[in-house]
């Protein structure tokens, strides 16, 4: 109903195009064009009628402006649209509140699951030609600041055989990885202490780290240039219709379809229900909460992870890879000034509280530094300069992504739960979801193993080296 009221208001305003006197005329016998004085006017009060010629310039300017607005190419529309609110109808609504810019930004092909390897490789192919894919005319080319330094995984005796099997899988899919023994490792990286290391897996090509904000900004810029609308708000509710069916066992199953999404503008009480055809849930750590609004149980929850920045002047140089120790502690070089970033995943029982993004420096002292110092003796003397925290969209079921439709929900696509690998898989996952929407099934990489089916049927697809 509010739209019709707005239309009425606009029609009333449109009358202003032609000068119409809206004030009462008190002296009906005067000349049509008011008093024409030959000398300087002595009266100090306002004229009682609208003097057409005095206001002529102003009126002409207003008419010209309105005519310019009405020409094609401007964004004037006969319907009053409130620009601060999201639109009332949209074809596809993508809900996303992710930790993209808080990520360490690494990309690797050293996974054990073939789907993950293919996703990473497809994403690297995308980034190789990123300027062709995300080029916007007359804008600066995209520079991801990709550091091609590779990943180095260290394995002790117990897991060395797993690493070898993974290596064979990775090579079969075309990833450029090499295995190093302890002596070869010492030769290549003399600054590593190789105690306890049985085998190391080193990425030769297409591995490294980049700037996540640049990638995000490039995607956003290209989407906006192609005509997407960007709105900022918070999804508070869904409206959906359900058909309830009864299974053979007598259980009631509801087949639902989302009809509209209620988006609340931040820091205000305004909200807008957006009618949409398709919803893509790429909400990262908060996707579980979003799915719960629809009665779907998605096993994705936020898990807080810390990243610490430290400075070590004697640390390893330009060839420092993204080193991942057997204990799970990782670190990588940041810039050229002897800065490094490091972190680790805490044990299950000691997961930090996820209500805020506060950093616990004690965690670094107890859990990260000892392992770093024992693996790289040069890092014994370091100084922590800063730190930040971000949320993993942690898939509690099997720590791998969930991509595809839910069997009970017809028009919500999930692309979440990557547990720390969301950024590196993002271009390829985006392409996969687009294929699902446009064609109904995967055409480039077959990701049916990562669908919702495995969660319902309780068949986990576990990855053998999780970070």
């Amino acid at each position: 109903m509010s739209t019709w009221q707005r239309v009425h208001v606009n029609l009333r305003k449109a009358h202003g195009l032609f000068p119409v006197s809206s004030r009462r005329v008190t002296q009906p016998n005067t000349w049509k064009y008011g008093h024409v004085t030959l000398c300087k006017s002595l009266s100090t009060s306002r004229p009682l009628r609208n003097d057409f010629f005095k206001d002529l310039e102003v009126q002409l300017a207003a008419m010209r402006q309105k005519a310019l607005d009405a020409l094609p190419g401007s964004d004037w529309s006969p319907l009053e649209m409130d620009r601060s609110l999201p639109p009332e109808r949209a074809d596809v609504v993508i809900y996303s509140q992710a930790s993209t810019v808080l990520s360490a930004g690494g990309i690797r092909q050293q996974f054990s699951l073939p789907e993950n390897i293919c996703l990473s490789m497809a994403s690297t192919q995308f980034m190789k030609n990123i300027n062709e894919h995300l080029h916007v005319l007359n804008e600066d080319p995209v520079d991801l600041q990709f550091n091609h330094s590779g990943y180095l995984f260290l394995a002790n005796e117990e897991v060395a055989h797993i690493m070898e099997e993974n290596y064979k899988t990775q090579r079969s899919f075309g990833a450029h990885v090499s295995l190093l023994s302890a002596t070869q490792l010492k030769e290549k990286f003399p600054w590593i202490n190789t105690d306890g290391v049985a085998l190391a897996s080193y990425g030769l090509e297409n591995e490294g780290w980049f700037d996540p904000w640049t990638l995000l900004h490039a995607f956003k810029r290209k989407a906006l240039s192609l005509g997407a609308e960007q709105c900022i708000g918070e999804v508070t509710d869904f409206k959906y219709t359900s058909n309830i069916a009864t299974t053979a066992e007598g259980d009631q199953v509801a087949q639902s379809r989302i009809t509209s999404v209620k988006v609340q503008v931040s820091n205000s009480l305004e909200y807008q229900p957006i009618e949409c055809a398709i919803v893509v849930n790429a909400a990262g750590a908060l996707s579980g909460k979003l799915a719960a609004m629809l009665g779907i149980s998605l096993p994705v929850e936020p898990r807080k992870r810390y990243i610490y920045v430290f400075n070590c002047p004697d640390g390893p140089g330009l060839d420092t890879p993204f080193l991942i120790d057997c204990s799970g502690v990782w670190f990588r070089r940041e810039g050229l000034g002897g800065n490094y970033i490091a972190g680790t995943s805490p044990e299950e029982a000691l997961e930090p509280d996820t209500s805020d993004l506060e950093v616990d420096y004690q965690f670094f002292e107890e859990k990260v530094w000892p392992h770093l110092a024992s693996r790289v003796p040069a890092l014994e003397k370091l100084k922590v300069t800063s730190a930040w925290a971000g949320f993993y969209d942690y898939n509690t079921f099997d720590q791998n992504g969930v991509i595809g439709l839910h069997p009970f929900l017809n028009n919500m696509f999930f692309a979440t739960g990557f547990s720390g690998h969301g950024l590196q898989h993002s271009p390829a996952v985006g392409r996969a979801v687009a294929e699902l929407i446009m064609e109904g099934n995967f055409t480039s990489i077959d990701l049916s193993n990562l669908s919702f089916r495995r969660i319902i049927q309780k068949e986990p697809m576990l990855e053998r080296n999780i970070l």
Partner: protein, 277 residues
């Protein structure tokens, strides 16, 4: 309720693409996210379309002086006419496709003549020059790009030295050179398409490569130089005048540390200390 109006509005919006229409010139347009599809820069997110923006060149934007008149005129036209904008984006894509086409994998030659001849043919078709192992003569192309078929006499002879200065080689072209296990010298001076991804692929020559020249390549940045860590047998490296490196002094020192047996040449950098403004 307003749904039919919205879809009608969108239809009118899209049909505007087919008509040459003037676009709004004001740089202070209302913060709308409902700009026509494939517009240049919606004001809500990117800088407003002004007449003095950096030219749409492929090299890293480093010019401070205003761009030349023809570039500004082209920009002026692009912001006002959809046709010009479409033509410009089409020509950009065509340029990229041309580069990719010239660097394809010569599978036919490879199947019929062997991979060494395929590599030789690829190099000559890009106007490079090379020398076989055990031979002392160089096979070159003349100024018009023509070359004779003498190289066909040396079947199954690997290449030892390859000179691709100022050619359009890119990372895809390395598919043709993949199996050259005795390549000792590779010269890529001034190649506009050689970037970090290309350097990452050079690990295929890690056993044999001794001399590498990547000076004057505009697209190489520090991240790509980190990829040279695999070339442990490298004896001479030339990284002069790379415009993409931000702090050349530090990078050269780190490179020398990373490759201790290598002799790094780095001329053409201004190492004078500048006042922090």
């Amino acid at each position: 309720m307003s749904a039919p109006f919205m879809s009608l509005y969108r239809c009118c919006q899209r049909s505007a693409l087919l008509v040459v229409s003037r676009r709004s010139l004001s740089s202070v347009s209302p913060p709308s996210s409902v700009s026509p599809p494939s517009s240049v820069s919606p004001p809500s997110s990117v800088s407003p379309p002004s007449s003095v923006s950096p030219p749409s060149s492929v090299s890293p934007p480093s010019s401070v002086s205003p761009p030349p008149l023809h570039t500004r005129f082209l920009l002026y036209l692009t912001q006002r006419f959809y046709d010009v904008e479409m033509l410009q984006s089409w020509s950009f894509l065509q340029r990229w496709k041309r580069v990719q086409k010239r660097n394809t994998y010569y599978s036919y030659v490879q199947k019929n003549y062997g991979s060494d001849i395929a590599a030789a043919y690829y190099i000559l078709s890009l106007k490079g020059r090379f020398r076989f192992v055990g031979q002392s003569e160089w096979f070159i192309t003349d100024r018009r790009g023509k070359f004779n078929g003498d190289f066909l006499d040396h079947k199954n002879t690997p290449l030892e030295e390859v000179n691709m200065n100022y050619t359009g080689i890119n990372y895809r072209g390395l598919d043709n050179l993949e199996v050259q296990k005795s390549l000792r010298t590779l010269s890529l001076r001034g190649c506009p398409e050689v970037n970090d991804w290309f350097l990452a692929r050079l690990h295929m020559f890690e056993d044999s490569l001794e001399e590498l020249d990547i000076s004057h390549c505009p697209r190489i940045t520090t991240g790509g130089l980190a990829a040279l860590r695999n070339l442990k047998g490298l004896k001479r490296l030339d990284v002069s005048s790379l415009p993409g490196i931000s702090s050349p002094g530090v990078v050269i020192i780190l490179l020398e540390e990373m490759l201790p047996k290598c002799d790094v040449t780095a001329n053409g950098y201004d190492h004078t200390l500048r006042e922090e403004s």
